[in-house]
């Protein structure tokens, strides 16, 4: 779960990491009050997109009147698919230098990894590799100030910036650990000439660990349909094609999408019905597929724990109770295959044994529809 910048900054503040003075507003008129206190301010749209600056989501008002006007423009505006509902009005920093600092998880070493660069302010992917300091963290040793001093040295810092960098890093690591974060990122980390200040805050919390953080406000990035799928425990992603797809297992569902594309089709979704889904869960999954208004439905089942007869029964039920208005192609092999094929035949559908043939057929039907 990604957090809004203003939430990330609140968390930074709680760990003693310096952030600019600022306030969150939800109505344009509130900007005037903040500008009274902070005359040199910047308005930052609180959306989850990483490129909001380039998209016009950040404004630099000259005075309170302009701040109110600009806030009015921003609020309610759509920014790269996200509605602006909140603006962070904060102190404009004097920028002498911009650094980059993040903590993430290194998948192959399987430990926290600190990333830092003297070239901040741009996306880290655009920074040349030799400008990036990568420092894995030994979980026994953790991160105390010397780690910050070492990284600062490798970044080419010395004196006061080095000292302040070393002082703030342990707090960022503590936050990363306590929050079950996948990523905490400060970009840019601004040197004002006097202070290192986190000018932005990007925090992503591990979705699987959210239950351990009941007090953390929830930020929703999923579509309505994706949320519905999540509520019933299915892994579902909306795509922009016209062939609705369901399979059992994340890998085989991806492979099913790929094979549809291979034959020239366009998947409408990713839907992993999981291993061992029963009749009712399968029926719910079918409802989700229908909600994407596809031209064709393609179901690809390799029955292991999942029983082919359960899938066929669910299909038959949904067909009878609410009707299925589009062509359906089903590939069905594995546990209780014969019984499943029989049930499908009774609903008028001939199951395929080969994944490739079935996919080719689904694409053909979609192109005809």
């Amino acid at each position: 779960m990604k957090l809004f910048e203003c939430m990330g900054k609140d968390l930074f503040r709680s760990q003693g990491i310096p952030v600019p003075d600022g306030e969150v507003i939800t109505q344009a008129a509130q900007a005037a009050g903040v500008l009274e206190r902070i005359p040199a301010a910047v308005l930052k749209s609180q959306v989850l997109s990483g490129k909001r600056g380039k998209a016009g989501g950040i404004k630099f008002p000259r005075d309170a009147a302009e701040a109110v006007a600009q806030a009015g423009e921003l609020l309610g505006q759509e920014l790269q698919g996200y509605q602006v509902e909140k603006i962070l009005v904060e102190e404009k920093l004097t920028i002498q230098h911009e650094y980059y600092l993040a903590i993430t998880v290194e998948n192959s070493m399987r430990c926290p990894l600190i990333l830092a660069s003297a070239a901040g302010g741009m996306d880290i992917e655009e920074v040349p590799e030799e400008m990036i300091v990568r420092r894995p963290v030994d979980p026994v040793l953790g991160v105390s100030e010397y780690v910050g001093r070492e990284i600062a040295w490798r970044m080419g810092l010395s004196g006061e910036p080095s000292k302040q960098f070393a002082a703030l890093l342990p707090g960022l690591y503590r936050l990363f650990m306590e929050l079950d974060a996948e990523l905490v990122e400060i970009n840019p980390l601004v040197w004002t000439g006097e202070k290192l200040v986190a000018a932005d805050a990007k925090v992503t919390v591990d979705d699987e660990a959210l239950y351990r953080h009941p007090d953390l406000p929830r930020v929703e990035e999923k579509t309505a349909l994706e949320q519905k799928a999540q509520a019933i425990g299915l892994s579902f992603v909306e795509l922009d094609g016209d062939i609705a797809i369901m399979a059992n297992g994340a890998g085989i569902t991806m492979a099913t999408l790929d094979i549809i594309q291979h034959y020239g089709g366009r998947p409408a979704n990713f839907l992993d019905a999981g291993g061992g889904a029963n009749v009712e869960q399968t029926a719910q999954a079918l409802e989700l597929l229908l909600a994407t208004n596809p031209r064709v439905i393609f179901i690809n089942i390799f029955g292991g724990i999942t029983r082919c007869d359960d899938v066929a029964t669910a299909f038959s039920q949904v067909k009878k109770t609410r009707g299925i208005p589009v062509p359906v192609v089903i590939r069905l092999v594995g546990t209780n295959e014969a019984r499943g094929v029989e049930i499908l035949r009774e609903t008028g559908i001939e199951a395929y044994r080969s994944m490739s043939e079935a996919a080719a057929k689904a694409v053909e039907l979609a192109q005809k529809a």
Partner: protein
């Protein structure tokens, strides 16, 4: 030979009294797995499919030689269960549980390293040494002995490919579910190394997917260290960036983890990459 587990492996089931635990205990026994005990706190004295249940791994290990443990415990308790097995000295720990928090996984891996144990998963279908021992949840019928080792990030896709191999008359030594999360107790490189050292394994099938750089790093490893032929299949060619495709690890972020990047890296390392799952058996036939 095979890797990690064989016909002599004595297995413990943690969470044996749950729905998944009890069902798969039956399935594993049916495959021929030597399950000696189960653990479920507060259920000491019960039996599941004839297997005696204890409150703690420590007690089970005091009564039986336990070589491997498989964990069917909900995500919130998975870390606890893995550490319990590791501290009791179990050498191979298979964590089937999905939705395990990432930080718990880092701790599990650190603990397994400290104990010198093999951790498989989490979010894995398990590991099967064909014809000898199955630990985990895959269907029994497709695992028939043969010369190919398989390592994979996903379950059903592996069964599909293993079934394709079998249909072509090719059996498997060991099939390893690396797990679909961002981090895995045993990753591609480590499993490839283990297959390299297994005399029975003549070739390896590697089933990857988008997200992360595990496949790219494996490619680098293969190029320098592997003498055995490798055939790969990578799922997720059609997945858009920024979307998590079911598995926690299956997401293209910040330009990393793309299908094209992985295929390129593997091909540069001399790995044959199948375009469709169906092509894997043909490519394997070419190399063995």
């Amino acid at each position: 030979m095979a890797i990690y587990i064989d016909e002599n492996t004595q297995v413990l089931v943690q969470g044996i009294t749950g729905r998944q635990g009890s069902f798969h205990t039956g399935q594993m026994l049916a495959y021929g797995t030597r399950i000696v005990a189960g653990v479920a706190p507060g259920r000491r004295g019960q039996t599941v499919e004839g297997v005696p249940v204890y409150d703690t791994v420590a007690e089970a290990c005091s009564r039986y030689r336990v070589d491997a443990s498989v964990i069917f415990i909900p995500a919130a308790g998975a870390k606890d269960a893995v550490l319990e097995a590791l501290e009791a000295g179990v050498g191979v720990v298979v964590c089937v549980t999905e939705h395990v928090p990432l930080h718990d996984e880092m701790l599990m891996v650190a603990a397994a390293r400290r104990k010198g144990a093999v951790l498989i998963g989490p979010n894995t279908f398990g590991v099967v040494s064909s014809g000898k021992c199955k630990i985990g949840i895959p269907p029994n019928q497709v695992f028939v002995p043969g010369p190919v080792g398989v390592v994979s990030r996903s379950g059903t896709l592996s069964y599909e490919i293993v079934a394709n191999l079998l249909a072509a008359g090719i059996g498997t030594t060991t099939v390893v579910g690396m797990g679909g999360d961002r981090i895995a107790g045993r990753n591609f490189i480590e499993v490839l190394q283990d297959f390299e050292n297994d005399p029975e394994t003549k070739a390896v099938v590697m089933i990857g997917e988008i997200g992360g750089t595990a496949e790219e790093q494996a490619a680098e490893y293969i190029r320098h260290h592997l003498t055995k032929p490798v055939v790969a299949y990578i799922a997720g060619k059609s997945a858009p960036p920024g979307k998590r495709m079911g598995h926690a690890g299956a997401i293209i972020e910040r330009g990393r983890g793309t299908f094209a990047g992985k295929v390129q890296a593997l091909q540069a390392a001399g790995v044959q990459v199948a375009g469709l799952p169906l092509e894997v058996p043909e490519l394997i036939k070419e190399v063995i």
